[in-house]
């Protein structure tokens, strides 16, 4: 055997087989993910401007990072993005959980309802942005008109201008569009849940709240954390809806990281600086993902799953 093995080239040896089998995937990932990432990392250390391709070679060291770290507007947008993420994820989780629990209880028309529930996810975020821009328009928007017609308001409420209402309006649109992500995943969790512990708990005299709190919720938390990981990546790069509804304004009141990055990168053509901002934003996403994965593992451990 060993003689035969000696004659075999190294890449046909057994220990290399997994790498060879995985190589198409690894190469593809390198080309479509790693190379662009390295390239944009490099540009973040240059004075690269879109309209002057030769500036790609202007090495400026950490100047882009120094500029953004001392830029008040960047940090405000950074903080606002974290706040936006936190509120959106929590509200989507609570609403998604409520919807999943309700749908789980009905016996007739459940499939149809599940399909209906996914409708908002099927729209492009740009369309959702336009839809809510129209609804929240202070002058011709249907919300203000409805409020005035019902006698609930006698003025034009500036939904997309006011400091708090503007963020509320954008959050509303974001939550409307994506709550079903949570609902679908949590519903899948509820379907997969074994009946025995529930029945045992009832036999032991637990009330509905105790069953929910100590059995149902821990069981579906891993699903919730998966949904949170996916959505945190989504929300952290929120751009389309915000750009359409307010463009990050007025006066930067709804400026999130990506509306700022797009303006710096494209309108101002400062792609080097925009990429530096994007790298800080990626760190934020990594932190959130790491946090949710830690929670996911802990939740699965609690359920006796992964060690």
């Amino acid at each position: 055997m060993s003689n035969i093995a000696k004659g075999v080239p190294f890449w046909r040896k057994e220990q290399f087989t997994p790498f060879i089998l995985l190589s198409p995937a690894i190469l593809t990932l390198m080309f479509v993910v790693l190379l662009p990432l390295l390239f944009s990392l490099y540009t973040s250390f240059t004075g690269y401007r879109l309209i002057r391709p030769e500036s790609l070679y202007d090495w400026v060291g950490f100047r882009n990072y120094e500029r953004i770290f001392s830029n008040k507007n960047f940090w405000i947008a950074f903080g606002r993005t974290i706040l936006f993420l936190t509120i959106a994820l929590n509200v989507e989780f609570i609403l998604g959980l409520g919807i999943a629990l309700l749908i789980n209880r009905i016996t007739w028309g459940q499939r149809t309802l599940r399909t209906f529930m996914m409708f908002p996810m099927m729209f492009s975020p740009i369309l959702v942005g336009y839809q809510f821009k129209f609804i929240f328009n202070d002058n011709i928007g249907i919300l203000n008109n409805a409020l005035q017609a019902l006698g609930l308001s006698d003025g034009a409420i500036p939904w997309l201008v006011d400091k708090y209402l503007a963020m509320f309006s954008i959050l509303f649109a974001e939550i409307w569009m994506s709550t079903s992500v949570f609902a679908i995943l949590l519903l899948a969790g509820l379907f997969a849940m074994p009946r025995d512990p529930l029945e045992a708990a009832k036999v032991d005299g637990c009330n509905a709240w105790q069953v929910f709190r100590h059995i149902t919720l821990p069981f579906i938390m891993p699903f919730a954390f998966i949904a949170m990981t996916i959505r945190s990546l989504d929300v952290a790069r929120a751009y389309d809806i915000v750009d359409v509804m307010t463009g990050g304004g007025p006066a930067g009141r709804t400026e999130l990281l990506w509306t700022l990055i797009a303006r710096v990168g494209y309108d101002n053509s400062r792609m080097g600086q925009a990429n530096a901002m994007a790298y800080v934003s990626i760190l934020l996403s990594i932190l959130f993902t790491y946090y949710f994965f830690t929670k996911l593992l802990a939740a699965r451990k609690y359920m006796g799953g992964a060690e």
């Binding site: 309209i51 202070d138 002058n139 005035q148 307010t246 006066a251 309108d267 101002n268 053509s269």
Partner: protein, 443 residues
């Protein structure tokens, strides 16, 4: 070959002068480019489409095909062109351009001097060509121009009760505003939020920067001194910002105005809920069309008001066409943009209300409106002709104009909303602008 085509073009573009109204496209030789496909990127939007419907005539005459790669608004087109520059994919020939955007693009577009015959260029308005020139190079051929004048709802000014109340309150007669101060008085006087507003303004992006800029000039200020140091944080600048803020605070404009762009202000005036509207000529026929507008037949028009500096506001610019340096068939491209800016094609756009860049089209379009008994459009053309000749000025034709604008407008908004005083907002914008101008090598 080039000389022959250009010679033909000279004759072709001169011909319409002799046959006003009677020229058919087939009489003009735009050259032959059989089986060639011209790749173009054009600005899109309802008011620009009638011209594009003419493209098939050029295709039929020349045997070439036009492949429209994109048709977006200027801000999106600008992003796309910047991406093309960065990626080295300028593999198209003709692009829509604008006098405000052109200085950013460096040398990607050819100098049209010597490519478009002098005789043809002589038919364009001198000012439009001057504004299309960057660093001595004619990088674009002007398609139509923009400048704003003041539309108003006539019936409000004819109403006796309005006249009496206004005179009692302000001590002067209620007539369409001649100054920016009167504009403010009257807008606040007519406003009855949330059902009726005195006026409205575009509240974000380069749009509000432009409005601020023209008011700054009218108030006697300037954006920069001769060494490109920002000077807009002057007293004139503060007065200009205060004008926007006073109207906002008095609820004379809709509360959401800071999210408004051109469509919002145009449609707002057409909805009949706004008294005064400073806007482009391109809206004129829309405003007076009963199918689209509730103010049709009730519209007056006066020149844009005068500021306290004694100057009339007149922020202006031109939509244009450019040819890329990388174009593989510059003759075809030159033929195409000559066709799109020819007398007949400008007549197509002028009859919709867009302001032509050829001197002769002004007269011919006006004559056509007069012939059709359309007194409103005759008045529109007369008013805009005066403002184009006497009041028009462009923003500084500098590379970082959009970048400077992006520092200004969020701070203008902050001042209007009361988050900063006008002086603080302008000081902060001036400090940022100084850095941008230094980075760009201006001082």
């Amino acid at each position: 070959m080039i000389r022959k085509v250009l010679k033909n073009l000279t004759i072709a573009t001169a011909l319409p002068l002799l046959f006003v109204g009677g020229v058919v496209a087939e009489d003009i030789d735009y050259g032959k480019f059989d089986d060639y496909t011209l790749r173009v990127k054009l600005i899109g939007g309802a008011q620009y489409e009638p011209l594009y419907a003419e493209i098939e005539k050029w295709e039929a005459m020349t045997g070439a095909k036009v492949d429209v790669l994109s048709r977006k608004n200027h801000f999106e087109l600008d992003r796309e062109i910047k991406q093309d520059i960065a990626a080295g994919t300028l593999d198209w020939c003709v692009g829509s351009n604008h006098t405000s955007f052109a200085p950013q693009y460096g040398s990607i577009y050819i100098d049209l001097n010597g490519v478009i015959p002098e005789a043809t260029l002589a038919e364009f308005q001198e000012l439009a060509l001057k504004n299309s020139t960057v660093d001595g190079r004619l990088v674009q051929l002007p398609r139509h121009s923009d400048i704003s004048n003041l539309y108003y709802k006539k019936s409000l000014y004819a109403d006796q009760a309005n006249k009496d109340n206004f005179k009692a309150k302000h001590g002067y007669d209620l007539t369409p505003p001649e100054t920016w101060a009167q504009f403010k008085d009257q807008a606040i006087f007519f406003a009855d939020a949330p059902t009726f507003y005195g006026t409205q303004y575009v509240g974000k992006d380069e749009a509000i920067t432009g409005r601020f800029y023209e008011l700054l000039v009218a108030e006697g200020g300037q954006l920069f001194d001769e060494n490109w140091n920002p000077t807009f944080n002057s007293e004139a600048g503060v007065r200009a910002v205060q004008w926007f803020k006073d109207l906002y605070d008095a609820k004379a404009v809709p509360a959401g105005v800071l999210n408004y762009l051109w469509d919002d202000t145009g449609l707002g005036f057409a909805s009949g809920t706004v008294a005064l509207n400073l806007d482009w000529a391109g809206w004129a026929s829309f405003f007076n069309d009963p199918e689209n507008s509730k103010v049709a037949g009730d519209i007056g028009l006066v020149r844009a008001p005068v500021g306290s500096g004694g100057k009339r506001s007149g922020w202006s610019g031109s939509h244009t066409f450019s040819i890329t340096e990388t174009c593989d068939n510059k003759e075809a491209a030159a033929s195409f943009i000559s066709f799109l800016t020819s007398h007949e094609r400008q007549m197509v756009e002028a009859t919709k209300g867009l302001l032509p860049t050829r001197a002769k089209v002004w007269d011919d379009a006006k004559a056509e409106f007069a012939g059709a008994g359309n007194d409103f459009m005759v008045n529109v053309f007369e008013t805009y002709a005066v403002s184009m000749t006497e009041d028009a000025f462009t923003p500084p034709l500098i590379t970082p104009w959009i970048e400077v604008s992006n520092e200004l407008w969020p701070r203008l908004q902050a001042a209007i909303l009361g988050e900063m005083t006008p002086q603080e907002a302008l000081d902060e914008a001036a400090a940022e602008t100084k850095i941008i101008m230094e980075d760009a090598g201006y001082n």
